[in-house]
Symmetry: C2
Subunit: 121 residues, 2 copies
């Protein structure tokens, strides 16, 4: 049983956090059952946090968890904070396989998406 | 003369800020001269800041500036901080036309990009 956790930064604005919920629903809708569970989590300022989200999917039976950093650049959150939490989770759940995927900002299509949105104004 | 400023959050990590420089080069490479000038700026933690970048492109002759928020969600940076800086710039440069485009997280392709990157692990 595999799980995907979309990990966003989190915001003080509820509307911003709600976008992550909607995004997770959109990913789920096009995922063609590729993952048994698709969840979201926030690194800061909102709940569930990443460890809590990991607890949740493991309770549901996940043995293989992919954490997707919904971040644009490889700042300290991506390079330091997320690996530290995954290390903690790996110790807590030694039988679960954890993967952290490339963050969204690294996708090759991003430059084209920028020009497209900028054109719409 | 028009300009596009890609506005990223900014990081304490130089490598993270360098990604924004590379991204700007990548956008420029595929832009087919749609903009006379394509620049980058950081909201925090790195330079040039947005006002400094606006000064730079206006010195180069820009009369129409599109600011692209390279942000994933509509948090306080997008909803409060960026509009406040644009208001300041509009007062300073009343003859320049400023537009703030939709932030990158709103692009409809983002859910598919997430699944694609997550699959690569």
């Amino acid at each position: 049983m595999n799980a995907l956790i979309i990990l966003a930064h989190g915001s003080r604005r509820a509307e911003s956090n709600q976008e992550v919920v909607s995004l997770t629903e959109a990913v789920n809708a096009i995922s063609n059952q590729e993952y048994s569970i698709i969840e979201y989590a926030y690194l800061e300022l909102a709940e569930p946090g990443l460890l809590q989200s990991i607890d949740n999917v493991i309770v549901q039976g996940a043995l293989n968890i992919t954490v997707f950093p919904y971040f644009l650049n490889s700042g300290n959150h991506v390079k330091r904070d997320i690996p530290a939490i995954i290390e903690t989770a790996s110790v807590k759940y030694p039988d679960c396989d954890f993967n952290v995927s490339t963050f969204i900002g690294m996708h090759r299509d991003i430059p084209g998406l920028i020009l497209e949105l900028a054109r719409m104004k």
